[in-house]
Symmetry: C2
Subunit: 307 residues, 2 copies
DNA sequence: TGTCAAGCATGACCTCTAGTTATACCTCAT
DNA sequence: ATGAGGTATAACTAGAGGTCATGCTTGACA
C-alpha cells in the first residue's frame, strides 16, 4: 500500500515488492485518495512522490501498524501465559484444603496471570461459569450440572462418619453405615450443597431412612454439634484432616461412597490460564490423595487411619 | 466489529447498532477468531462475554481506532493549513524584492505551514517542480516550459535601460530601444536566465542586432559594468528599485516589452499551502505594481519615473 | 526527430470477501 | 410446552480487489 509506494518511489516497484501488479497499486492508491479527499502522491515522470498529506498519512500508518504488531505480540504472550486472567470459584471445604496449595503452585508457575478466587458452591458457581463470570469452578458431585459445562474428575474425597469422642461406636473394629441407622444425623447441606444427596442415597442403599437432626452447610459448625453429642455426621476427608480432638472420625468403607471432586469449566473454549490451572489441580490431586493419612480406630490421638 | 459486540453484550445488539444483520457479526467474529487463533468471545445463553484475549484485543483496537481518528483529524487540519509544507523556488531578482514580502505575509497568515524558499532560475526550478521536489516556483518568461506545468501570470515587470550617469542619452526626453542600437550591451543571462530572449527579440523588432559586450546572470554585477561605462543593459523594474546612484535608468516604453512574472505549479494537484501562497502572491502583485515609483528622466535624484 | 523504454491509468474480466435472507438450534422464562 | 431471545449455518449475491491487456505521457537516445 501507500507505505511501500513511498519506500520504493514508484508504483511499479512497490507492486513488485508486494507481489501485486502495478494496476492493483494504482487503483488502491486512487481509492485511498478518493476516501481521504486529497492527493496523497504526486505522479511525476520518474515515478511517485508523496505530497505532504501523503507523508503525514505514511507516518501515522506506520505508527498504527506498529501498534497492531504490538497487539499481536501481546496476544501471543497471553497464549504463553505471560498475561491473562483466571477467575475461579471453589466450594468451602476445598478452599481450606487443596485450593491454597493450588493457588500457590499456580502463582509460582505463572506469576503474570491475574488470579482471583471466590468461594461459591456449585448451585451458585455453575451459572456464573456459564454466564462467563467465572473461568473455572471446583465442585463436588455432578448432579444437576448442565451438559454444556465440562467436568473434569480430579479425585475422590472419601466420606467418613464423625461422632463425639466416647461415642459407643467410636472404638468398634469395623463399621458400616447401617450401624448408625438409628443415630440422629447432622446433614451437611442447605440447598447450596449437594453432599447430602450422596449421603441420602447411601442410606437408602444401606436400608434405612436417616433421622435429620440438623442441617447446615458449614462443616465446622456441624462438627461443633457432633462434638456436643447432638448426633453424628458424614464429613469428607478434606474436612476430617485437622479435625478437633473431641470428635472421632471413622471410615465406613465401602458402605459410604466418596464424593467426587470436580473441576467445572464452561464448555468449548479453554483459555491457556484455565488449562494451566487444570494441570496444577490434576498434579496436586495425585499428591493430595497420596498424602491422605491412614485412618485408624485404634487411638484417638492417631485417629486418622484407613482401615 | 468486536468492540461493538463487547459494548452491547450480544451479537444481535451489536449488529443492530452497526446497521448489519446478526449473521454478519457472527461470521466476522468467527473469522477474526480464526485469524487470531484463540476464542475472543464466550457464547453464553444471554449473549456474549469477552475472554481475556478478547478484552486485550478490544483495548488495543480502541487505541488503534483512536489513532486512526487522530490521523484523520490531522489530514483535515492540514487541508485547513494548520500544518503542511511549502517548498518554493524563486529567481534571483524576485528573491530580493517581492518574495520577502510574500514570505512575511504567508508566515503571518499560516504560521503552522513549514515554508522553505530556495533560489533557482526556471531551467533549474521547473524540472524540480515536475519531479515533486518543489511545490511552487516563481519564474519570468514562459518559454520552454512544458505544458504539464501550470503557469499563473502574476504581473508584468517593466524592462528599463540602464546606463552610466552622464551618458549622452541619459537626459534625452524620449527614448526607445533603437536609440541604443550601436551601444555595447551587458546581457543579463547565462543559459539559466531567459530574460535575454525577450531582449533579443525586442532588438530584432527594433531593427538591429545588439553588440554583446558581456554576459552575466547577476544584475548587481551588470550594474557594476554599466556604472563603469562598459556599456548599457536592460534591467527589470524589480532590480531598478534602489539602484546605485551612478547609474541612470530610463524607460523605453513601448519598444522594450516587460517581462512577465509567473508562478509555476506542477499541474494537477494543488495543495492547500500552494493555493494559499498563490493567493498571497496575487494580492501582493497588485500592491507591488501600484507601488511602482514613477520613472522620470528629469533629475538623477528622481530617476524612477514612468514616461 | 522518430523511436523506445519506463512509468501510471483505464477497461474488461474474474475471484473471493463480506454482506444478505432463511432457517436451525439452544436456553431461559412463563 | 411454548415463545422469546440468543448464536450458527447454508445458500445466495454484490462489490472490493485482484489480473491482463492496453493506452497515454515523458524522457533518453540514436
Amino acid at each position: 500500500m501507500l507505505c511501500e509506494v513511498a519506500r520504493h518511489g514508484s508504483f511499479s516497484a512497490a507492486a513488485e515488492s508486494l507481489g501485486y501488479t502495478q494496476p492493483a497499486i494504482s487503483r488502491q492508491i486512487a481509492t485511498l485518495e478518493a476516501e481521504v479527499g486529497t492527493t496523497l502522491i504526486r505522479r511525476v515522470p520518474k515515478g511517485a512522490v508523496l505530497t505532504d498529506a501523503g507523508m503525514l498519512l505514511v507516518d501515522r500508518a506506520e505508527a498504527i501498524l506498529a501498534r497492531l504488531d504490538d497487539a499481536e505480540n501481546e496476544l501471543r504472550a497471553l497464549a504463553g501465559l505471560e498475561g491473562g486472567r483466571l477467575r475461579m470459584a471453589t466450594f468451602a471445604s476445598a478452599a481450606s484444603s487443596i485450593v491454597p496449595l493450588a493457588i500457590a503452585a499456580f502463582r509460582e508457575r505463572h506469576p503474570a496471570v491475574e488470579l482471583s478466587v471466590v468461594m461459591a458452591d456449585p448451585p451458585d458457581s455453575i451459572p456464573r461459569l456459564r454466564a462467563g463470570e467465572l473461568d473455572l469452578a471446583l465442585s463436588h458431585d455432578a448432579i444437576d450440572i448442565p451438559p454444556v459445562i465440562e467436568l473434569i474428575h480430579l479425585f475422590d474425597d472419601p466420606m467418613y462418619v464423625a461422632m463425639r469422642a466416647g461415642h459407643p461406636l467410636a472404638e468398634s473394629p469395623a463399621l458400616e453405615l447401617a450401624d448408625f441407622a438409628t443415630e440422629p444425623w447432622m446433614l451437611a447441606t442447605t440447598q447450596t450443597c449437594p453432599d447430602s444427596r450422596l449421603f441420602l442415597r447411601a442410606c437408602h442403599e444401606a436400608g434405612f431412612e436417616p433421622q435429620i437432626a440438623f442441617q447446615n452447610d458449614d462443616y465446622p459448625a456441624i462438627l461443633g454439634f457432633v462434638a456436643a453429642g447432638v448426633g453424628v455426621a458424614m464429613i469428607p476427608d478434606m474436612v476430617a484432616r485437622g479435625v478437633r480432638d473431641d470428635v472421632v472420625v471413622r471410615d465406613l468403607d465401602p458402605s459410604a461412597p466418596p464424593r467426587p471432586i470436580l473441576a467445572a469449566l464452561a464448555g468449548g473454549y479453554r483459555s491457556p490460564a484455565v488449562s494451566a490451572m487444570l494441570a496444577v489441580l490434576e498434579e496436586l490431586s495425585g499428591e493430595w490423595v497420596a498424602s491422605r493419612p491412614p485412618l485408624s480406630f485404634a487411638a484417638k490421638s492417631d485417629q486418622f487411619a484407613r482401615t
